[in-house]
Amino acid sequence: MSGAPLIMDFAVTPESHRLAAYRARGGYQTLAKALAMGPQDITREVGDSGLLGHGGAAFPVGRKWSVIKLHDGQPHYLCANADEGEPGTFKDRWILENAPHRLLESMLIAAYALQVRHCFVYIRGEFDLPYQRLQDAVEEAYEAGLFGTGILGSEFACDIVIYRGAGSYVCGEASGLITSIEGKKGYPRNRPPRLTVKGLYQLPTVINNVESLANIAGIVRDGAKAYRAIGTSRSPGTQLVSISGHIARPGVYELAYGTPLMPFLFETCGGMVGGKRLKGLIPGGISTKVLTAPDLEGVTYDHASLLAAGSSLGSGGMIAIAEGTCMVRLLQVMLRFWHHESCGQCTPCREGMGWMHRIIDRIVAGKGQAGDLERLIAIANANDGTTICGMGDAAGYATIGFLDKFRDEFEHYLAHGRSLCDGVLDVTGGWDA
């Protein structure tokens, strides 16, 4: 790990998620400091830090916050997006399970800066332990007078609701999330108006990823300059990277932006299981374009470098794919997922995901038709920019990425009705261990 860890900066023990342990690490002292500052000064500090959104879009957090007009006479809302559902991503879960109070302290500071009376954490319905840990932390914080009215003897009042989803990938999209908190099916909404203008209950709302928010306490404690000293000039700070697939040591790692990627994969994470060669890397959740080993030469882990390599940093969820893996069947798994999760609101996505899923199914069944690869690309392109949210676009880019980088495998499957790699997805043999 290079650079100071900002989030994973303590030893995890059976008690380290509790309030007492967090206080022993200096927890909630930054809240006291923040309450002595002006709300605008906090937003300015966050803006100066250059903190980028950690959920996938990398939008500057300070710029989002600055849209909120203080003293406009209407309530504002703050929501933490804990609907972590992008396949390959499990980093926010680390924060929810191990550092729930860091998230809560950061949210209190953000709520004070944005003059928010009611905060929400929208957490995916399947997360049971993360929910229990977070809800327990909320109750501890209420008992300690950190939520409610007269927080730390000030006039600041804030309540928080941990809102559980019920199984919907699209609710991780900010406007779908809001519709879900309103108690409806989670359809995304057209923008404009932006959610910072008309969001939850039609009022100005800031939605930030869990990890983005968790960084707030540290930024206010140490200052924007200290945050900028880590990472690169265009991507300050660190990212929690969750890595899975055929990697020898999967898990969550905190990387300073700018860390060389290949040494991370092959030294820190021990390379591929069984010393196999790297065939491909999905760098930021399955909605980001797959890269091959040659693409990764010289790449550093930051937004600009991954963009230059032809993909993006996304949600920090890496999936390492070893030699011997059938990329056609892997794309089949991905298309099945997108078809399952399309919310059905927009025609290009609702129909397109189904068509792509059926085409890949027939290719895998050995019944592919001439022109099927071109059909997949045409449907993927038809989604681009024609839907309310970005799910269909992203599914299209990722599909084109697979066809682009591994074209020969797809052509072989189509021509011969069978896989070049025997249809294998698991090359680790771990199931029989």
């Binding site: 809302y77 009376r117 399947e126 809102y163 108690g183 409806k184 999936i319 997922f337 199931w431 029989d432």
Partner: protein, 157 residues
């Protein structure tokens, strides 16, 4: 009879932390709690919740059909959900699913005749680094192998 009446004191407690006048937001949490109490959401629960929250019945019906975790029918005592998304498939999820199919004698979406087990497939559970994962009722069982899954099944009686 609806289970809603007995849960109203609990629902009233939740309201205190929501902004005033946002009762509609309680649809999802109330349905989850109803399902915990009964095992699924029955017609009479929908009627009672419609009345209690004062929201259109259609809103509740839409929520029930939109989200994958709500059930309108009872299921087995043990609900085994196998993640078969990318990272789990790369670590043996398909073989875990085949193993459960043959041991339980049912396909995904089915319940054993004795009402003990229901088998489902599920998309990414955020357990990719400890794949493959099988969710049993509310709990994750991670880094599954054939022998771990066999031991788990033996404990679920």
């Amino acid at each position: 009879m609806s289970v809603v009446v007995g849960l109203i004191p609990e629902f009233e407690g939740w309201k205190r932390r929501f902004p005033p006048g946002t009762e509609g937001s309680l649809v999802l949490p109330c349905l989850r709690r109803i399902q915990e109490a009964r095992g699924f959401v029955a017609d009479e629960d929908i009627a009672a919740l419609t009345e209690y929250l004062g929201v259109p019945r259609m809103q509740i019906e839409q929520v029930l059909s939109y989200y994958s975790q709500y059930r309108r029918e009872p299921i087995g005592r043990w609900h085994l959900q196998v993640c078969h998304n990318v990272s789990c498939s790369m670590r043996g999820a398909e073989r875990a699913l085949d193993h459960l199919r043959s041991r339980l004698g049912i396909e995904p979406g089915q319940t054993t005749p004795d009402g003990r087990y229901t088998l489902s497939t599920v998309e990414c559970l955020g357990s990719c680094g400890t794949a493959p994962v099988v969710m049993v009722n509310d709990s994750y069982h991670e880094s599954m192998t054939r022998s771990k899954l066999d031991r788990l099944l033996d404990e679920l009686t």
